[in-house]
């Protein structure tokens, strides 16, 4: 909060004072730059605490020893941490561990490739079976198509024969007179009744 300043406006008090005090002016915390110093603090000179020479000497010795010891301890601990870190990363144990890990990794990769090979075999078998199935299906389809064609031909042949048979009973120009005479000679009666079995039951006489 207090800033040390050299060579400011308070030169008079500096001359008057026996010891060389530290002229301290407060950094404006609560007050702004234009506010004056408080009335009760107008001529205030702050003096550092008095120093005893012999005491200072003794204290200085003790302090140097103390600081040396603490600095040494601090550096020791820092060094220990660094050494641990170094050991962790590039020590003999670390190398061992790295080697072991590499070996394990290789073993696991080998296991993985074994699995891959196994699945590959299964896949090859499946593909083979699928191609065989497809071929068989194709052959069957061909055979079936041929069969269908054969049947079609047979059907057509049957129809042709039937037509030929019917052709014998056709009425042509030569038969015309003969068939007319036959029809007139044999009158046909279509009025008859049937029972459930299909036998003719009644028949009316032709009029």
């Amino acid at each position: 909060m207090f800033q040390v300043i050299g060579g400011r406006s308070v030169q008079v008090t500096r001359l008057l004072a026996p010891r060389s005090p530290v002229i301290v002016e407060a950094v404006r915390g609560r007050k702004s730059r234009t506010d004056p110093v408080a009335k009760s603090k107008e001529g205030r000179i702050k003096l550092p605490p008095p120093v005893d020479a012999t005491e200072m000497v003794v204290l200085k010795e003790r302090y140097t020893e103390y600081q040396m010891i603490t600095r040494a301890l601090r550096l020791e601990f820092k060094e220990e941490v660094l050494r641990k870190k170094y050991e962790e990363e590039t020590g003999s144990l670390a190398e061992e561990r790295a080697r072991q890990e590499a070996e394990e990794h290789r073993a696991l990769m080998a296991f993985n490739s074994q699995e891959n090979l196994r699945i590959l075999q299964v896949r090859m078998l499946r593909i083979q079976k699928e191609t065989e199935d497809a071929e068989r299906q194709q052959l069957e389809a061909v055979v079936q198509r041929q069969q269908q064609q054969q049947e079609f031909i047979k059907e057509k042949e049957k129809e042709v024969l039937k037509l030929q048979e019917d052709a014998k009973n056709f009425i042509t120009l030569e038969n015309l007179d003969q068939r007319i005479e036959e029809a007139l000679d044999n009158p046909k009666n279509y009025n008859f009744a049937i029972d459930k079995e299909g036998r003719v039951v009644k028949q009316t006489t032709l009029q």
Binding site: L108, M109, N112, I119
Partner: protein, 172 residues
């Protein structure tokens, strides 16, 4: 209602924390190629649907990419930091088998995980006092049953140095 999606349990913290695949530090990228149709890809599809959220939750810095309908058979590919690529064929496998296999070849083993947990516990001792970022407590005044911080509640008169000095002076 907060339920979104077909299996909203996949979004719960409990489900995510149950994931047990934690990859080694060398694995950087994971790629899954699978098909959206077909029975052979079924295991891979289930793996992507159920297990990938768990894996990503446990390996926040792992890059995971999914490719659909690019190859006839499904597979996983891992890219390690030394440039090595590990191919895992998953045709016809079940999603549980896939996750077990992956855990075996590239996951951290139980002992390693336990050792890491131990190290973490040792590094962060709950008995330490210090900044809140690193320790649980900063000052003894925060502990129950101890003297409250004189900054918030004034100390009883008998404990103040001023009173004690007065008493000592008046006695002499």
């Amino acid at each position: 209602m907060p339920m979104k999606g077909r299996f909203p349990i996949r979004r719960t913290l409990e489900y995510l924390q149950k994931g047990d695949i934690i990859f080694k530090n060398r694995v950087k990228i994971m790629t899954v190629n699978y098909n959206t149709q077909g029975e052979l890809s079924d295991g891979a599809r289930k793996f992507v649907f159920f297990n990938i959220p768990q894996i990503q939750y446990k390996n926040q810095w792992l890059q995971i990419m999914m490719f659909k309908n690019m190859t006839p058979s499904p597979f996983l590919k891992f890219y390690l930091d030394n440039g090595e690529q590990v191919l895992v064929d998953v045709e016809g496998k079940d999603h549980k088998e896939i996750s077990q296999h992956v855990k075996k070849i590239l996951g951290k083993s139980e002992e390693v995980l336990q050792a890491e947990a131990q190290a973490k516990m040792q590094a962060s001792n709950p008995a330490n006092f210090g900044p809140i970022k690193y320790c649980l407590r900063e000052c003894m005044c925060e502990v129950e049953g101890q003297v409250q911080c004189p900054g918030s509640t004034p100390l009883p008169k008998e404990m103040t140095g001023k009173y004690r000095a007065q008493m000592a002076a008046s006695q002499e």
